[in-house]
Amino acid sequence: MHYFLCLLLLMVGLFGALTQKNLIKIILSVAIIEHAVNTFLIMVGYRHDGTAPIVDRAQVAGSSFASGAVDPLPQAMVLTAIVISLGVLALMVAVAMRLYHTYGTYDITEIRKLRG
């Protein structure tokens, strides 16, 4: 059920990226896809009634902690992915603004026409 909702979010973003004509809207669709994938990865590592993968001062790390905590590996990867997505978003916006500077529009069909 939760996996399915996540996939639905991904598909909404994909549909937007395929059908939108405006560059900013396409960037936003890519951002939605990123959110969907991040959420999905965290979900895969979730454990029912698990604890956060941070050792508490009271409890000692050991098998009891290891069998009760959620998976830390996807979390670390997602943390990396989030920051990369911010950098990539900045790059995409930079390209879009440069295109606007040159062609005076964000519309990709117009840009294609103007290039000739």
Partner: protein, 183 residues
């Protein structure tokens, strides 16, 4: 708690649909911001406080960057989407992918059972058991990020460096070979 998670996910989907649907660019950006904050809440519900902190601040900067790109230009409203043919092709493609994906998640373990519980010597269980004693870091996510998998983080820093460098080069000003600026 599960119901709350479902609700937040549905909220995210609604936000995504609005941001695709609307013809106003600013509201589309704000809707995507809502999706990001929703994902932060989802991370918190899934016991990932480390990751939940990041989208909040990242989303704020994302909004600033995107609004910078739109405000002050005459592009507040945009035309309709593409013609019928492209729309239908995209819809068919997306539905096909959805079918494949639904088939694929049938092979995954049930929600709430991590993969590491099935595999005998999964790296994740090793990190959880020995993270504190080997690295001294109580936060296992940080231990994985910076000690067990330092390579990944180095690559991430490189990617970020390259992306920022590219953005700065693109936006610097007109290239130096252009016509000289007129005083």
């Amino acid at each position: 708690m599960i119901n709350l998670l479902t609700l937040v996910l549905i909220f995210m989907i609604i936000g995504a649909i609005i941001s695709i649907w609307t013809t106003d660019l600013l509201s589309a950006i704000i809707a995507v911001g809502a999706v990001g904050f929703g994902s932060s809440v989802v991370f918190l519900l899934l016991r990932a406080p480390d990751v939940a902190l990041a989208p909040v601040v990242v989303e704020v900067l994302m909004l600033v960057i995107l609004i910078r790109a739109t405000v002050g230009r005459d592009v507040h409203t945009i035309g309709s989407a593409r013609e019928i043919f492209g729309l239908s092709v995209a819809a068919v493609l997306v539905l096909l992918l959805l079918a494949f994906a639904v088939h694929a998640i049938g092979g995954l373990p049930e929600f709430g059972e991590p993969v590491m519980a099935r595999v005998a010597d999964a790296p994740a269980s090793y990190y959880l058991e020995n993270g504190l004693s080997q690295t001294g870091s109580a936060n296992i996510v940080t231990a994985v990020l910076l000690d067990f998998r330092g390579y990944d983080t180095l690559g991430e820093a490189t990617v970020l460096f390259g992306a920022i460098l590219g953005a700065m080069t693109l936006l610097r000003r007109k290239s130096r070979t252009d016509k000289p600026r007129q005083e």
